[in-house]
């Protein structure tokens, strides 16, 4: 997981609730509108937000490569089976959402994930489940690496000298059985973790969230702008179709 502390951030100057609200409104707007001009504007807005977040290019270039491949793929499929208009719409949606997602996710301190959603009115258990998810991502990735190594140590062939698409697909297919031990392990670990939480009185009453959040003027401005954006998108959908 990318450590947000290591990323030079201007997005982080906003309260996390303001950022989540902006992201939710932008995503909904992108899904609502069909007009190419509006979608192009939203794609520009998403890209602008990513620039504003100042995430170093080195950190996102691989992700962007994946995004570009994904966009190329869905554009090609839309051109083949649907219309050029739909292909353009989907491509612009993908750009807007990918850029905004990167900007928000990479500037979000995982330690604030739970308290953000709690302060937005979600229940304690739901909010803490999000905290746990953030904690689980690196653990799950580590477990998957160990499981892959353990099965390779039992002679399971995951290497291929065939660099063609067929060779890559063969290797990809061979990863599928490895998902079973990872999932089993995650389920067994989850029971231990649930016990550990019970033993520290989780869920027995109202809890204190150690981190505090405070909305300031720029946050209110961002929240207002987000809702204005959403309202504009609804209007565009009604007027432009």
């Amino acid at each position: 997981m990318i450590n947000p502390q290591m990323v030079e951030m201007s997005m982080q100057t906003f309260d996390p609730r303001a950022r989540v609200t902006f992201y939710a409104c932008l995503t909904t707007a992108v899904l609502l509108v069909n007009d190419l001009r509006v979608l192009a504007g939203l794609a520009l807005l998403g890209s602008g937000v990513l620039l504003f977040a100042r995430v170093p290019w080195e950190r996102i270039k691989r992700i962007w490569l994946g995004v570009v491949i994904f966009i190329a793929l869905i554009t090609a499929l839309n051109l083949l089976f649907r219309t050029p208009l739909e292909a353009a719409q989907q491509a612009l949606r993908a750009v807007a959402m990918a850029a905004a997602s990167l900007a928000v996710v990479l500037t979000f301190d995982p330690a604030y994930l739970g308290v953000t959603f709690r302060r937005m009115g979600f229940p304690d258990k739901f909010a803490f489940a999000l905290d746990l998810t953030a904690r689980f991502v690196p653990t799950l990735m580590r477990d998957f690496r160990i499981t892959i190594d353990a099965q390779r140590a039992r002679g399971y062939e995951l290497e291929s000298r065939d660099r063609s698409l067929k060779g890559i697909l063969t290797v990809g297919r061979r990863f599928v059985p490895l998902i079973v031990p990872v999932v089993v392990r995650a389920v067994l670990d989850a029971e231990d973790r649930a016990n550990a939480m019970d033993l520290r009185a989780f869920g027995t009453g109202p809890r204190t969230w150690l981190q505090t959040l405070r909305l300031r003027l720029p946050d209110y401005v961002l929240i207002a702008a987000s809702f204005a954006l959403l309202a504009g998108a609804i209007a565009a959908r009604l007027v432009l179709g």
Binding site: N3, P110, A111, D131, L132, A134, R135, P138, T139, R142, D143, I146, T147, D149, A150, Q151, R152, A153, R154, G155, Y156, E157, L158, E159, P177, L178, V180, P181, V184, R185, L188, D189, D192, R193, A194, N195, A196, M197, D198, L199, R200, A201, F202, G203, T204, G205, P206, R207, T208, W209, L210, T212
Partner: protein, 508 residues
């Protein structure tokens, strides 16, 4: 009394046999109580009854008897109330961590109790000071070592200011220096009038802090209840019926061409500022039983992974059966070198033991007829010949799973077997029996390399000890020569004081 248990029995739902049978015990403030017993003897069930997971989280079993905690019956206490009285630290600290930052991890229980933020911050700092870990408070939890994680988990429990600390195998993932620190801490807590109840497989280590109270469980019942000296005598008496572990003749003198040769092996993980291996050289020959030892992070597991190609050296060579391992895939190398991971959960995945044990041999191209004969033999070798091949590996105990994982690798019939912490999580008797069986197996490997922190294991079974520290071999010689040399052990940042005559005797 801190905890008083009266005629406690518990049967898990769906099981015919009770996990605990009429257990009566008393634990007092200011004492360390050591609870021992073989895998499946009921130790963890007893811990769950004491801390309230039974019946609060395991609701469907049958519980009979009573536990009183500081004169209050636990039946009438909620988990939150019990958590204030009894702090629990479970076997694997990694599975108890719930927060991304150390500060938040220690604060977790206090947040759940609804304390004020100021109180929480004060108590977190207090617990961190007590455990000498204020420098860790801003760290992310997934970056901590095993020893650091252990301290953070204990700090999280102590921050709730319990009067009893319940520890379920707290030493299992610690290297000797970290285990020594942890034991000293438990002694300090008991001396400060806390009741410390410790379930532990590493009995010899635990006895070094002179527990006031010793308990042995056997098949769910109390087999011994007395002082530590009595426990030691009881364990010695139990061993009299068993064959004495001895150094097998085949491991005394290694011979022939090297089966594996590490030649100036260097390795650094991508992005790591320093090398994990810095010019490691040594040979493994037929007849060798090598204990590969060193502190956590010394490079032991990294080195073993280069032997089977999971990691490729950045410089130097690993020669397997006379050929450069760089020319082969992992699947090709493991026909010669088997590697058993520390945690069996990483290896097991099939629905039945038959499928599980056939997986490796099938991958290396063994015929179906030969596979059938081989898996029957390896099951006998690991002492599980009585199990049905149609049963699931996931229903087995941790110790049995560990042996199945070993059997799965043995079934591939490698020349060299590498075992990563083979005794971790196993009681002394089971661990010794397993190694003994392995060394005397008819079609066993020609050489064994054990990555271990267990000095007793090295003393009893190895013909060579290779000490690794900071990515380099700092000593290579006989167990006596290496483990009893204070100077050599200090160079590897290990404590020679923890090696005693006890470690060389079979009595424990």
């Amino acid at each position: 009394m801190a905890i008083q248990i009266s005629k406690l029995s518990y049967t898990y739902t769906g099981r015919a046999e009770p996990a605990l049978r009429e257990v009566s015990l008393t634990f007092r403030p200011g004492e360390v109580a050591l609870i021992v017993g073989q895998s499946g003897s009921g130790k963890t069930t007893l811990a769950r009854c004491i801390n309230g997971l039974i019946p609060h989280s395991y609701k469907n079993g049958t519980l009979v008897g009573e536990i009183r905690c500081y004169e209050k019956s636990t039946a009438g206490l909620s988990l939150a109330q019990l958590a204030r009285l009894i702090g629990t630290v479970m076997q694997d600290p990694d599975k108890q961590i719930v927060a991304t930052r150390v500060f938040n991890e220690i604060a977790f229980g206090l947040e759940n109790l609804g304390l004020s933020r100021d109180d929480i911050r004060a108590r977190v700092h207090e617990a961190a000071e007590y455990l000498h870990i204020p420098h860790l408070l801003d760290r992310e939890t997934h970056t901590l070592s095993g020893g650091e994680l252990q301290k953070v988990v204990i700090a999280g429990a102590l921050a709730m200011r319990p009067r009893t600390l319940l520890l379920d195998e707290p030493l299992s993932s610690l290297d000797p220096p970290s285990a020594r620190d942890a034991l000293a801490l438990f002694r300090r807590l008991a001396d400060a009038d806390m009741a410390v109840v410790m379930i532990e497989h590493r009995v010899r280590d635990a006895l070094r802090i002179t527990p006031e109270h010793g308990v042995a469980l056997h098949q769910g019942a109390v087999a011994f209840d007395g002082d530590a000296a009595g426990l030691r005598a009881w364990m010695r008496a139990q061993r009299n019926g068993r064959p004495t572990p001895r150094l097998p003749a085949r491991s005394v003198a290694a011979q022939g061409e090297p089966l594996i040769s590490f030649r100036q092996v260097r390795f650094a993980y991508p992005g790591s500022p320093q090398e994990q291996l810095r010019g490691v050289s040594f040979d493994v020959r037929a007849g060798d039983v090598i204990a590969l030892m060193g502190p956590n992070g010394a490079g032991k597991s990294t080195l073993c992974k280069t032997a089977i190609g999971l990691l490729r050296p950045s410089a130097g060579q690993v020669i397997v059966a006379g050929e450069d391992a760089a020319r082969f895939t992992v699947a090709q190398i493991v026909r010669k070198v088997g590697y058993v991971f520390q945690n069996p959960a990483a290896m097991l995945f099939a629905n039945t033991l038959r499928e599980e044990l056939s997986f490796g041999p099938r991958n290396v191209g063994m015929s179906e007829d030969r596979i059938v004969a081989t898996i029957a033999r390896v099951l006998e070798t690991v002492g599980l010949g009585h199990l049905s091949l149609d049963q699931s590996p996931f229903g087995l105990s941790f110790g049995q799973q560990k042996r199945i994982a070993l059997a799965g690798v043995l079934a591939m019939q490698p020349d060299v077997l590498i075992l990563d912490e083979p005794t971790a999580g196993l009681d002394d008797g089971t661990a010794e029996d397993l190694i003994q069986r392995l060394l005397t197996a008819e079609h066993g490997p020609q050489a064994i390399v054990m990555v271990t922190h267990d000095l007793s294991l090295a003393h009893r079974f190895a013909n060579r000890v290779v000490l690794v520290a900071d990515g380099q071999v700092v000593a290579d010689g006989s167990p006596t020569e290496i483990l009893e040399s204070a100077d050599t052990m200090r160079r590897a940042r290990l404590d020679p004081a923890v090696v005693s005559a006890d470690d060389q005797s079979p009595d424990g």
